[in-house]
Symmetry: C2
Subunit: 197 residues, 2 copies
């Protein structure tokens, strides 16, 4: 995984140059409690990672199809002429796929928190477009980052069900995924809200 990840353009997980996340260990622990994320969820999220690992491109096809079908979403990956920037979409796509793997497989430690902060900043004027030198709008509105909790959660269930797990296991993996996505979005909202976070 690490070798593959190192080849993803703009993927800087664990890099020395990253800003440190201002989110404390206590903040993270309390967020986990708020989304009811416990030890069982950790286990089922790992299971989800195993299940999704060789389906990541199919999941991305669904998500990218959804974005491409909605002009109000694809515009954040388009240039001043309104045309989607293929190279930008492709680079973001590779990192989005790696995000699935990281969310399921990585420990949620300081390195993970630092990279959530980096992802957050890349949705805002502080860092959007810069990694990819793209001439697209300078932010993704917070409302869409939050609204994405629904499609990113709902569309994954069918993929979790494709490897012969029991209904109970699929449900448990799906709930762990829903909690993990909600917690991620809560972390990504930080730079939008400053002292309101």
């Amino acid at each position: 995984m690490m070798e593959a990840a190192a080849e993803i353009p703009g993927y800087t997980y664990g890099s020395e140059g990253l800003q440190r996340s201002p989110v404390s260990d206590d903040d993270l622990e309390l967020l986990k409690q708020t989304v009811l994320f416990g030890e069982d969820d950790e286990r089922y999220l790992r299971m989800a990672g195993d299940v999704l690992r060789d389906q990541v491109e199919d999941v991305l096809d669904v998500w990218y199809g959804f974005v491409a079908a909605h002009p109000h979403l694809v515009r954040y990956f388009a240039g001043p002429d309104g045309a989607p920037i293929d190279a930008y979409l492709a680079r973001v796509r590779a990192r989005f796929g790696q995000w699935i793997r990281d969310l399921c497989e990585r420990p949620w430690d300081r390195a993970w928190l630092d990279y959530q902060e980096e992802i957050a900043l890349r949705h805002t004027p502080a860092k959007k477009n810069k990694t990819d030198e793209a001439d697209a709008p300078d932010r993704i509105p917070l409302r869409y980052v939050i609204a994405f909790v629904y499609p990113i959660t709902a569309t994954v269930r069918e993929f979790l069900a494709r490897k012969g797990h029991s209904e109970q296991e699929v449900d448990a993996m799906h709930q762990a995924w829903f909690k993990a996505v909600t917690l991620s979005v809560a972390l990504w909202s930080r730079p939008y809200a400053d002292d309101g976070w």
Copy 2:
């Protein structure tokens, strides 16, 4: 419903004195598209309203039990001495119950949008505590508003299943509820983010 609602302290739905929501009809339509909220969801959300109507106090018992069990949440309803303010909690509870009914039963029109803005502001220094003259912290951090998508969604399913509907109907009601809650939180995030919204 309207007569009962009029007796809820601080419930000002449809009042002339409310600030108007800056969210446009187009903004709302695009948010609905982003959470995949369609005509079937409208119908199933109405059905959920029928199912939940006489269970609202039971739902609130679960949600209040969750908040009460977590000091990092109940503190936003506590005074400077750290003790929960019972009168404040009771007043908020009555409006929280009415929010369930409104979300399921009201048309999502300008009056509804204006009241979502009012609810949003009541989570921030602009309006928190003022309606209830409570001496509690002056905001609910955005991260917890977002994180609540999970418990507010997950805990409702068992109540949706209690009125003899088919598994398919319960699932459809639950998905409509999940979408509606996510969209509500996206609206409530507006005052936290200003031009990042």
